[in-house]
């Protein structure tokens, strides 16, 4: 299973300790062990003598790692790529971006990955214009102040909370680099049906409310969601009815960093045998992600993990992370347990980290697709990376459950509307 046969000081020591405990009756085994131990020590001494000790960087194979052993990165010298003391490309730092790139390419650009100067100037002017809009501070319904309406309550955050807006606009027309049209490939028929089924279920729960189609309260309100629900649905019978974010499930892979106040920050710490990322994203739904650098196989298929099973390896100067074993509780744009993600991290220059992902799921998309984002190195003294703490402060979920039970009780006592006729999912529905 472990293809790396290079000697490790660590192994030698384990071997030494074992040999000391062998009773003398196992002379043959002892002699063999000692011979191997001495031979291995010899190799290490030889390595050190050949100039890999002292202040010169050691390779990953020589840095005593946890197991299984990290494959040695193929070290290529690129003048502009900062390197760790052990010779790997240095991906470390605090990274974010304030440059806006849409994930999908607006159709007007066709197959063009970049804008022209004129297009860019116009798009930037449009962006700056958009940034001036009052956004969610425009709390009116039909020209009247919206105070006290469902819309006002649902839009709890006014524009203050959206703080900084993106100030820069990339020349690139989309993060998606493959397919050529810069757009997510079509869903498979299977996924199309899955998504339509869920939409129909969501619509049924809204039927007869201000945000839904007209009609009586749907009998489907008694049904279980067709998928493990992660959406904002118009029901609070169980905690499982509330969305993943409301239950503090935390952000999911892959992360594309946003811009502005809620754009997020990513911190990367690197060692020869692991890369440890903290994604401070999504309003306290940040998470720690440890990528072991290893050549072990993936976990058994039946092991489902919210953020999958990550295995990292170096391909030249690129850290390639293969992630499988996702869960039916994780959802990346319609892809759940069958998602296969390949992430690539590459230090482009002192101030730029390229982060790319390829998403593959034959049960969801008609072909794999790839998106890339360039992150900018942030000032670590002033760019704060904060722990999530969503679950620890989650009074919202408790409130949704309490309020819904209270509303049901009030309705039963003839003191309020039937909660099933209220829209608690679309943010005010028809009033918008």
């Amino acid at each position: 299973m472990n293809g790396d046969t290079s000697p490790r000081p660590h192994d030698v020591e384990v071997l030494e300790m074992r040999t000391k405990r062998q009773p003398l009756t196992f002379l043959g085994a002892l002699a063999a062990a000692v011979t191997i131990a001495v031979a291995l020590e010899g190799v290490i001494v030889a390595n050190q003598a050949s100039g890999q000790s002292g202040t010169r960087p050691r390779t990953a194979a020589q840095a005593p790692p946890s197991r299984p052993t990290a494959p040695t990165p193929a070290v290529r010298t690129t003048a502009k790529t900062p390197r760790t003391p052990w010779g790997a490309p240095d991906l470390q730092g605090v990274w974010n971006t304030n440059t806006l790139v849409p994930l999908e390419r607006p159709r007007e650009f066709g197959a063009r990955a970049f804008m022209t100067q004129e297009e860019h100037a116009k798009a930037l002017a449009d962006l700056q214009q958009r940034n001036q809009r009052p956004g969610r501070d425009s709390r009116t319904v039909g020209g009247k102040p919206a105070v006290g309406t469902e819309k006002d309550v649902a839009r709890a955050y006014n524009e203050f909370w959206f703080g900084d807006k993106p100030t820069k606009l990339s020349m690139r027309t989309s993060m998606i680099t493959d397919p050529e049209d810069g757009r997510i490939p079509p869903y498979t028929p299977e996924a199309t049906k899955r998504i339509a089924d869920k939409r129909e279920f969501l619509a049924a729960l809204l039927q007869g409310t201000s945000g839904g189609r007209p009609g009586p309260i749907s009998p489907r309100r008694a049904e279980r969601s067709p998928d493990y629900n992660l959406d904002r649905i118009n029901r609070s019978d169980n905690t499982e009815d509330r969305g993943g974010p409301e239950r503090c499930f935390g952000s999911e892979l892959p992360v594309t960093m946003g811009t502005g106040t809620f754009g997020g920050v990513m911190q990367l710490v690197q060692a020869p045998d692991s890369v440890s990322i903290y994604y401070d994203v999504g309003q306290g739904s940040g998470f720690a992600w440890v990528i072991p650098i290893t050549n072990r196989p993936h976990l058994p298929k039946n092991i489902q993990l919210y953020r999958g099973d990550a295995i990292g390896r170096w391909e030249g100067d690129t850290l390639v992370v293969d992630v499988t074993n996702f869960s039916d509780e994780s959802d990346f744009r319609g892809s759940r347990e069958n998602l296969h993600l390949i992430q690539r991290f590459r230090r482009v220059d002192a101030n730029t980290l390229s982060v790319e992902f390829t998403a593959e799921d034959p049960t969801t998309w008609t072909r794999p697709w790839t998106a890339a984002q360039e992150l900018e190195k942030a000032d670590e003294k002033t760019t704060l990376v904060l722990e999530g703490g969503c679950h620890e402060g989650n009074y919202g979920l408790l409130g949704m459950m309490l309020n819904t039970r209270a509303a049901e009780k009030a309705f039963a006592e003839g003191k309020g509307p039937d909660p099933a006729t209220q829209d608690n999912a679309t943010g005010g529905g028809a009033e918008n």
Binding site: T19, L27, A63, P64, W86, Q92, S236, Q267, S276
Partner: protein
């Protein structure tokens, strides 16, 4: 097994003796290889680590006892109580010799009373039960692994439990803006020892399941010292003038996971504790009887034929 001592085995033994002597020489002269080091010469802490002690249950010396107890027939001999009575031996606190120097935590008198009260109401108050981030130092000695990634100017620790993590800044740190569950850690090397100063912890975390607590004035000094390639001495000095009369110290050992398939897997408990804390707010409750948010447990466990105590 008996070995006939003939000339051949005698010669082999002689060779072995020489080899062992040679090995001993390599070991004593090559002392530097005893502590695995990073390329910049620091002790290499990379790997997956875990304590084997029982500090998370009780920091002081303790014998085995029910995790949730009710009075039995004799004083000082409590028996398992309702929430865990069906668990049998799996519902007990494992015994341990303790991790506190002098086996005494110097609580102020009023704090000692609160600690005792906390211990009695452990199940209702312990943030661990709610799947909250465990804080420092408790994260270091929970009975689950954590992974160290030793970078060039930061050390990142990620804990299996609740996906908690901490960054130890080695080369300059930002000013912490607020108290955090996992605090703010600034480290430095003193010879082979990583010394970490931890501040800015909130007052929400506990130190054990026995009700040990602290205030937001908690200040820790941790010391990580390699003992062997696979063991670290972990010492932590606990200072909190709001709660303790003097600083006190814990000491324990962190062990490296040596399994070929060692892997940090998330102890993902957020959705699994919903039933405990929000189950009473389901439209159709799964627990048969709640009184408000109080679970009224009728512990009815019918053992199926063939599975009874003396049938297996």
């Amino acid at each position: 097994m008996r070995i006939r001592f003939n000339r051949v085995s005698g010669a082999a033994a002689g060779a072995v003796v020489i080899a062992v002597l040679a090995l001993a020489v390599i070991q004593t002269t090559g002392q530097a290889t005893r502590t695995p080091r990073t390329s910049d010469g620091k002790p290499n802490l990379n790997g997956i680590w875990q304590v084997t002690n029982t500090a998370n249950w009780d920091l002081l010396a303790h014998t085995v006892r029910p995790a949730v107890a009710q009075p039995g027939v004799y004083p000082n001999h409590p028996v398992l109580a309702a929430p865990v009575v069906a668990l049998g031996a799996a519902g007990l606190v494992p015994p341990g010799p303790g991790v506190v120097e002098g086996n005494e935590i110097p609580y102020k008198p009023e704090a000692a009373a609160l600690k005792r009260d906390n211990a009695e109401h452990w199940l209702d108050r312990d943030p661990e039960v709610r799947c909250y981030m465990p804080g420092i130092p408790r994260a270091m000695y929970m009975p689950y692994p954590f992974q160290i990634t030793q970078g060039t100017n930061k050390i990142q620790m990620v804990f299996a439990f609740a996906n908690a993590s901490r960054t130890i800044y080695l080369g300059g740190a930002p000013d912490p803006p607020a108290d955090k569950w996992m605090g703010h850690s600034v480290g430095r090397w003193e010879g082979n020892t990583l010394v970490v100063d931890v501040t800015d912890l909130n007052d929400r975390t506990w130190l054990s399941r026995s009700g040990d607590f602290h205030s937001d004035a908690l200040h820790l000094v941790e010391r990580f010292t390699p003992m062997t390639p696979d063991a670290l001495r972990y010492e932590v000095t606990v200072e909190d003038p709001n709660v303790f009369t003097r600083p006190w110290k814990m000491s324990m050992v962190l062990y490296r996971q040596l399994e070929d398939n060692a892997l940090l897997m998330d102890y993902r408990c957020i959705e699994l504790v919903e039933e405990t804390f929000l189950g009473h707010l389901r439209k159709n409750q799964l627990v048969k009887r709640w009184e408000g948010d109080t679970i009224v447990l009728d512990v009815t466990r019918r053992t199926p034929p063939g599975d009874k105590r003396y049938e297996r």
